[in-house]
Symmetry: none
Subunit: 121 residues, 4 copies
DNA sequence: GTGGTCTAGACCACT
DNA sequence: GTGGTCTAGACCACG
């Protein structure tokens, strides 16, 4: 299963988003072991260096822990995961609003349009 | 007035978005002359080459026209502008929804959250 | 009657080609008076400076003559016109052949394709 | 091997034509890796920025693909290449015919003249 | 004065 | 090593 990546966004970033999404969503549970860098790289069809970088950044974000010789694990700090979730939500909304402003749409118009498409989410 | 640019996005892209926003929003009206490449470059605090690139891409997007020795003008094709507006709105919402899904948020949660912050838009 | 110009070719060049075409084709006959710079400029919807340049280059090509206070006239030197005709034909074919080569088409393919469309000329 | 460029046409355009010609002609095959921007720039005797621009426009034309950190590759979409070939052929003939008409030559005359010189193509 | 092209050289991000 | 962006500065053609 080679993942499809958007060509105009760094692969490593897309992978970070995907994994954080999996954690937030519960696909990866607190304390669960992540695939090895090599396995995940092969599975995703990317260079091992790229995957290494992904894991490294995840660790810096404190949402995974690397145990020497054992691999990477999702943090067991549930509060951290919840905080991450909130942070991402806020950042998502913030950038959406920013784009909306930048393009000069009215708030009402956009929210209405979103509501219309709400069922499709 | 030097514009503030986000450090993680190409300047020329931000300028394209800013100008398309100005056109969509009506700050620049159909047929209006845009500032000369050099003037806008000075005004925005960027190099003239960067601005040149911006104008060139705008022309490729068919929302401006360049007349030799006279400058660049917003297209008078208001249908094209309307189409651009719709396209950007859809693309904006689509990518928002995609991110929402990717991070595992529920539709209701996000829309509610947006509503809360609606006044700030 | 404002003439339509291709946006990616100098206007003055297009005007030169148009007038030489008119002379070669006989629309303007040897010795005939051309419109004044001003009149032609208005008629074509271009700047008078541009038209001035066109007339100047036509004179340098020796296919028109400017008589002080009287205007510009097509040369009466029929041989010169004939020579111009031949020269343009050769240059036209030469550049066509060059493009054909550059794009790697075979001679036969192109001539055949031209023949096919011959009736449409 | 520094390439010779015509002085009256932008270098980057000539390079685009050369490379599209190479692709159409099969000198560069579908999926093949093109030289790196810097290598090709040195080889052609132009600035790297100029070459960069060439590659970017090729990508916009959808006949090459750029993979981050890996280089540019000829598209594997052979239909796209075939379409490009046809399009260029038609555009070539069309502009030839247009020039012929503009200069007032008869169709037969030009085709005959081309036939004469056919061996030289 | 206007856009367009080109060079030289630098720095960054990605793989 | 690869593409991508940006700057500074120059020169040209056009209207």
């Amino acid at each position: 299963m080679s993942i499809d990546f958007l060509p105009d966004k760094p692969i490593y970033q897309q992978l970070i988003e995907r994994i954080t999404g999996d954690i937030i969503r519960g696909t990866f549970t607190p304390g669960e072991k992540l695939p090895s860098v090599r396995d995940y790289a092969v599975q995703a069809g990317v260079n091992a260096n790229t995957m290494q970088r992904v894991y490294k950044e995840l660790e810096q974000m404190k949402i995974t822990e690397t145990r020497r010789g054992q691999g990477s694990f999702v943090t067991e700090d549930i509060a951290a995961i919840a905080a991450l979730r909130t942070e991402m939500k806020e950042q998502l909304v913030k950038s959406f609003i920013q784009n909306v402003e930048e393009l000069g749409f009215s708030a009402g118009e956009m929210v209405d349009y979103l509501q219309e498409r709400r069922e499709s989410i």
